[in-house]
């Protein structure tokens, strides 16, 4: 892969934030020219940043406005009057189920699929990165091809397969395939394992460690950051996934958050924008929360593997 060399080094120097490498104390005086450059730079960077997040802030502030005021006052961010009822109304849910049900459904999907994806991918990655066996290069190539395969190609036949198995209206079609390794995560972990010195393995093997023990005693703890990255991305993809639920979950009692929002949209009458916006914000909160908590892992994960 084209990015391998650059990716490897990126993981060694994590993040690369420009934080305080300079000598402490503000002894250096900025010349007027430098101050000017500094100001222009931050005007640009901050201006761009504000444009990027403005829509999200607009959504957030609109969720506190009465529905009939949202578009009349869409030029102002400040709700007047400021109300909470969109949240209480939205939380009551739709189709007879409270929004709490949808969040619970999403959590079940996310947790089960993520556990499966991370564990199985770590297994496979260890096999590819550390074990020598006939055909390993062949299977690795196959995996890289799968990684680039458009998912639409398997949509129809998978649907038929899962319906023949009687899995419609269950979470099986979404959760079970995750237990067979996710190519993106395998690739990420293989990359990561390659950065671990092989002397580690040899020392462990001399001490009488079998391959399996080597895997879970030595490698697993060392690749914890990669596992965390995979778990975070799995969380995002499952939480936001729509096509899986659209195809396989056709009862409101099974709907995850993404489907619930779609239901709000379909029932979109002039009156309930506020509730829809409020629940959109609620659905984004875990995503944004995880993002701020685990930023470092995310940035490294993308820089090393080109994860989306």
């Amino acid at each position: 892969m084209a990015d391998q060399s650059s990716g490897r080094t990126a993981s060694v120097s994590p993040g690369g934030m420009g934080l305080s490498k300079r000598p402490k104390g503000k002894s250096r005086e900025l010349s007027p020219a430098k101050t000017f450059k500094w100001t222009i730079y931050h005007l640009f960077a901050a201006g761009g940043a504000i444009i990027m997040v403005y829509p999200v802030i607009w959504l957030l502030m609109s969720s506190f406005k009465p529905s009939d005021k949202i578009f009349v006052t869409s030029d102002s961010l400040i709700p007047d009057p400021w109300i909470w009822s969109n949240y209480t109304q939205g939380w009551e849910g739709i189709g007879g189920y409270s929004f709490g049900t949808f969040i619970w459904n999403s959590l079940v999907l996310v947790v089960l699929a993520t556990i499966g994806a991370v564990i199985s991918s770590a297994f496979v990655a260890f096999g590819f990165a550390r074990l020598k066996f006939w055909g390993s290069a062949f299977w690795f190539t196959i995996m890289m091809i799968t990684l680039m395969l458009p998912h639409d190609v398997v949509l129809v036949p998978q649907y038929i397969l899962f319906s023949k198995l009687g899995w419609l209206n269950s979470i099986n079609p979404i959760v079970i395939p995750a237990y067979f390794g996710m190519p993106f995560f395998i690739f990420l972990m293989v990359q990561f394992i390659h950065t671990i010195p092989r002397e580690m393995d040899e020392a462990a093997t001399i001490d009488g460690c079998g391959k399996f023990k080597l895997f879970y005693r030595i490698i697993i703890p060392l690749i914890a950051p990669a596992l965390a990255t995979a778990a975070i991305f799995s969380f995002y993809w499952r939480w936001e996934d729509l096509i899986g639920p659209v195809l396989y979950l056709n009862k409101p009692s099974l709907y995850p958050v993404s489907m619930a929002l779609k239901m709000f949209l379909d029932a979109d009458t002039l009156s309930n924008w506020g509730a829809m916006f409020a629940m959109s914000i609620v659905s984004l909160l875990p995503v944004i929360g995880v993002f701020f908590l685990f930023q470092k892992h995310i940035v490294e994960g993308i820089s090393t593997s080109g994860l989306k």
């Binding site: 990015d3 990126a10 009349v72 869409s74 297994f123 196959i142 639409d152 649907y159 949209l265 940035v299």
Partner: protein, 297 residues
């Protein structure tokens, strides 16, 4: 000998989840899909063999199919280059030692994290509404409001801007690449009197070409499969006048709304071929524009 066999078995034991999953959920389905594409399968009756009829129908009779191809190509070939250009521009902007970089990087990346969600598509639908902030912005610039949901090209523009808005992950990959360009290269160039413009085109761009190639391939494939925004923004119809009928959405409609699974499978195979051709073209073209250090010595 025994240990050799044992090594083989251990290796396969570890990668067996992938092999089983690949066979069950990828390879066999793909082959099945090729067979289905030559049938009139509708999920309820037994598939009837109709040879290449689906493909013939698609290319010679189905105007919507051509429309969805057109829309998708516009979406991919406008959206991906714009996204990469923004990604590179912002990455270069952020590739300086300032204390605020961490914060900026976070903010610029945020849309990529939430962008695939239904919530963001709902948001996008509404900022482009008749009274939405985009029209307010146009008005404040002295321009007329655009009825984004009435004009097919305007509607497609909503999808393209939503895709460009999520340039964050490419940006992070570029940023990692920029940090790997050896400083002395720039210093030597400056000594030789190269200005910023020269340094950008003679050093930065050539050194980044492997990453540009990687980003271009992954983003193109990803863009081809875009579904959620089109599905949510058009409320599942692909409207107005099929202006947002992206390929995936049309495939979904054929397969799961009209239950023409044979036709949807044929569409899927054509998509596979298009994506394979595009990827190969990008790979093959890389000989002419991607710079690999090792080869040049």
């Amino acid at each position: 000998m025994r240990t050799a066999w044992k090594n083989q078995l251990t290796g396969y034991a570890f990668i067996s989840p992938f092999i089983i999953g690949f066979l069950a959920f990828t390879l066999i389905p793909i082959i099945a899909s090729l067979y289905l594409s030559m049938t009139d399968y509708d999920l309820f009756t037994t598939p009837g063999w109709i040879g290449l009829d689906n493909y013939v129908e698609m290319f010679t009779k189905d105007k919507k199919y051509w429309q969805s191809l057109k829309v998708t190509f516009l979406y991919v070939f406008i959206g991906v280059p714009l996204r990469l250009a923004f990604a590179l521009m912002v990455a270069m902007l952020l590739n300086t030692a300032s204390k605020a970089i961490g914060l900026y990087r976070t903010i610029y990346y945020l849309p990529s994290i939430i962008g695939g969600s239904v919530a963001v598509s709902i948001m996008w639908r509404n900022i482009y509404g008749d009274q939405g902030i985009i029209n307010l912005l146009l008005n404040s610039l002295g321009l007329d409001s655009v009825r984004w949901f009435a004009d097919p090209l305007a509607a497609l523009w909503m999808l393209i801007t939503l895709s460009v808005w999520q340039f964050g992950s490419s940006m992070l990959i570029f940023l990692a690449g920029l940090k790997n360009i050896p400083r002395p290269l720039y210093e030597a160039a400056s000594v030789d009197g190269a200005n910023a413009f020269h340094r950008f085109f003679k050093i930065t761009i050539p050194m980044l070409t492997p990453i540009i190639l990687f980003n271009a391939i992954m983003q193109t494939i990803g863009a081809f499969m875009t579904f959620v925004p089109a599905y949510i923004i058009s409320k599942g119809t692909g409207g107005p006048l099929d202006g947002t009928l992206l390929y995936s959405l049309y495939l979904f409609r054929q397969g799961f709304q009209f239950f023409d699974m044979g036709y949807a499978s044929a569409m899927a195979w054509v998509m596979l071929i298009i994506v394979a051709v595009l990827t190969s073209v990008l790979f093959l073209s890389s000989k002419f524009w991607v710079h690999y250090e090792s080869k040049e010595g």
